[in-house]
C-alpha cells in the first residue's frame, strides 16, 4: 500500500505526522525512520516540537552510522573495506558495543555476526524494496562466524575479513534509548516521554499516573486484534520480536528476518512472538530476539535472565513469565540494571 502523506518543502522527508491519541494531556507524532515507524509521545503537549527535533537528530545519526542498507553509512564503509582495524565514531562504537554485549549476555543467541547469513537468505536491502525484487533461491545457509571473533576496544573495531555485522537485534532498542535521553535533554527535566521505534518502546521522565498505557500485539496497527493486551509502563522499556512480519519468499521458500546464528536459517522454534520488559530498550530488544532464536529453550533462558516476558506460540497460546501481568491495565514490573550497556546503565 502506498500513500502520499504529505506535500511540502525539502525538509519534509523527515516530517512528523500528528497522531490523535484521544488524550488531551499528551501529544504524539509519528514519522518513518530506520525502515520502520518512529513515534514520540510527550507530556506536557508543549514539549512535542522540541522532542521531535531531538528525535530527528538521534535517528538520523543512527541511520548514518549503523544502517547496512545505506551505501553511505559508516557500517557499509567498514564492510566494503573487507576486514581490518577501524576507528569508529562514538555512535557506531556504542551500537556495536551494545550488540556484542547482547551476544555475550544471550550466549550467542543474538549475534551481530549473522549479517552474512541474513544477506544469503535474500534480506540484502531495505525491506520495503524486497518485494520488488524477489530474486532467486537463497544461498546455502551460513552459520554466523561468531561474535567473539570481533574485537571492540573503545572506538577501535577489529573486524575479521568476511564478517558482516547486522545490528538488527539491538539497533532499534539503542535508537529508542538514545531518543528518550535526547528528548529529555531537549525538553527539560519535567514531563515525560515515550518513544516507540518499530514497536520497541522506551520511556523516560515522569510517566502518567499508573504508567504509559501500551498495547501488546503481534502485528503493528493491530492493537485491537484478539489476544492483544493493555499494559502500563512506568519506567524502562518493552520490546517485541516476532516472525509474523518481515517475511519474504525465495526459491519457493518462505523466510523471515530472525535468523538463528547457529544454523544461518530463520529461527523455527515454537514461539512466534515474544515481548520482554527490561530496564533499557536494547536489553528488551536483545532478550526478545534471543527468546525467538532459543526456541524450546526460551522459557528457561528468560527465567534465568529474570526478565518479565510474554510469549505467543504458533498455536496462539500465551505464556507469561517473570511477573508479566495476566490482566489488562496492570503495570509491567521492570528489573534494575542493564546487561548490554557498559556500567550497567548508560
Amino acid at each position: 500500500m502506498t500513500t502520499v502523506t504529505g506535500v511540502s518543502g525539502p525538509a519534509a522527508a523527515a516530517s512528523w505526522q500528528p497522531v490523535l491519541s484521544g488524550e488531551d494531556a499528551v501529544a504524539a507524532a509519528e514519522r518513518a525512520a530506520l525502515g520502520t515507524s518512529a513515534r514520540v509521545v510527550v507530556w506536557p503537549p508543549g514539549n512535542l516540537e522540541a522532542a521531535c527535533a531531538a528525535a530527528d537528530e538521534v535517528l538520523g545519526a543512527l541511520d548514518r552510522q549503523a544502517s547496512r542498507f545505506r551505501p553511505d553509512s559508516e557500517l557499509s564503509a567498514v564492510h566494503r573495506a573487507g576486514g581490518g582495524l577501524f576507528l569508529l565514531s562514538d555512535g557506531l562504537a556504542g551500537a556495536v558495543g551494545v550488540a556484542l554485549a547482547a551476544a555475550r549476555w544471550t550466549g550467542g543467541l543474538a549475534d551481530p555476526t549473522v549479517g552474512g547469513a541474513v544477506i544469503g537468505l535474500g534480506y540484502d536491502r531495505d525491506f520495503a524494496a524486497l518485494g520488488l525484487n524477489p530474486g532467486g533461491p537463497p544461498a546455502e545457509p551460513v552459520p554466523a562466524p561468531g561474535w567473539y571473533r570481533v574485537r571492540l576496544d573503545g572506538p577501535l573495531l577489529r573486524l575479521p575479513a568476511g564478517i558482516r555485522l547486522d545490528l538488527g537485534a539491538t539497533a532499534k532498542g539503542v535508537g529508542a534509548d538514545r531518543t528518550v535521553r535526547a528528548v529529555m535533554a531537549a525538553a527539560g527535566p519535567e514531563g515525560g516521554v515515550l518513544v516507540s521505534l518499530g514497536g520497541d518502546i522506551a520511556v523516560g521522565g515522569t510517566a502518567p499516573r499508573g504508567g504509559w498505557p501500551v498495547t501488546v500485539a503481534e502485528r503493528p496497527g493491530r492493537g485491537d486484534a484478539p489476544g492483544s493486551q493493555l499494559i502500563r509502563l512506568a519506567g524502562g522499556a518493552v520490546a517485541t520480536s516476532s516472525v509474523t512480519c518481515r517475511r519474504w519468499r525465495r526459491g519457493g521458500r518462505e523466510l523471515h528476518h530472525i535468523v538463528d546464528p547457529r544454523t544461518g536459517l530463520p529461527a523455527d522454534g515454537p514461539w512466534r512472538t515474544v515481548s520482554v520488559a527490561a530496564r533499557t530498550c536494547a536489553d528488551a530488544n536483545a532478550a526478545a530476539t534471543a527468546a525467538i532464536v532459543a526456541g524450546t529453550q526460551a522459557e528457561g533462558w528468560l527465567a534465568a535472565a529474570g526478565v518479565p516476558a510474554r510469549l505467543v506460540g504458533h498455536d496462539g497460546q500465551v505464556r507469561r513469565l517473570g511477573g508479566w501481568p495476566a490482566a489488562d491495565g496492570q503495570p509491567l514490573p521492570v528489573t534494575w540494571g542493564s546487561h548490554v550497556y557498559a556500567g550497567g546503565l548508560r
Binding site: M1, T36, T206, W212, T215
Partner: protein, 132 residues
C-alpha cells in the same frame, strides 16, 4: 628510652608540678589509653555511618525513581531550554487512559521524496510485501 618506663632519667620537674612521675602514673596512663580507645571507636563508628549515608545519597542520585534512558550523551545543541508549556517541578504525571503506543513486530515503513513541478512530494509506503 628508659625514661619512658617510669624513670625520670634526670629530667627536671616543671615548677609547681610535684611528683609528676609518682606511683599513680600507670593508672593515669591506662585511663588515657582507654579514653583514646573510646574516642577511636566513636570515630570509627561515625566514619562508618557517614560512609553509609553518603553511599545511600549517591545511589539515589545515580538511579532516580523514574527511568532514565540509556544511550550516549547528547550533543550540546540538544540540551536546550525547557519548551514552552513545561510542567512545574514536581508535577505528577497526567491521567492517560487510552493506549498511546503498541509494542509489536516492527512494521515496515519507507519514505521517499521526489520533486514534481518544483514541489517536494513525500511518499510513505507501508506495509511492504510480507508485512501485512
Amino acid at each position: 628510652m628508659s625514661a619512658d618506663r617510669g624513670d625520670p632519667g634526670g629530667r627536671v620537674p616543671l615548677a609547681g608540678v610535684e611528683n609528676s612521675y609518682s606511683a599513680e602514673r600507670p593508672v593515669a596512663r591506662r585511663d588515657g589509653i582507654r579514653r583514646a580507645r573510646r574516642m577511636s571507636n566513636w570515630s570509627a563508628a561515625a566514619l562508618i555511618v557517614g560512609t553509609g549515608a553518603a553511599a545511600v545519597a549517591l545511589a539515589h542520585q545515580a538511579v532516580p525513581a523514574t527511568a532514565p534512558a540509556a544511550g550516549p550523551a547528547v550533543s550540546g545543541s540538544q540540551a536546550a531550554a525547557p519548551a514552552a508549556g513545561a510542567a512545574a517541578p514536581g508535577t505528577p504525571g497526567p491521567q492517560v487512559r487510552h493506549s498511546v503506543a503498541t509494542t509489536s513486530a516492527s512494521g515496515v515503513t519507507t519514505t521517499t521524496t521526489r520533486t514534481v513541478n518544483g514541489t517536494t512530494v513525500v511518499t510513505r509506503t507501508a506495509p511492504a510485501r510480507g508485512d501485512d
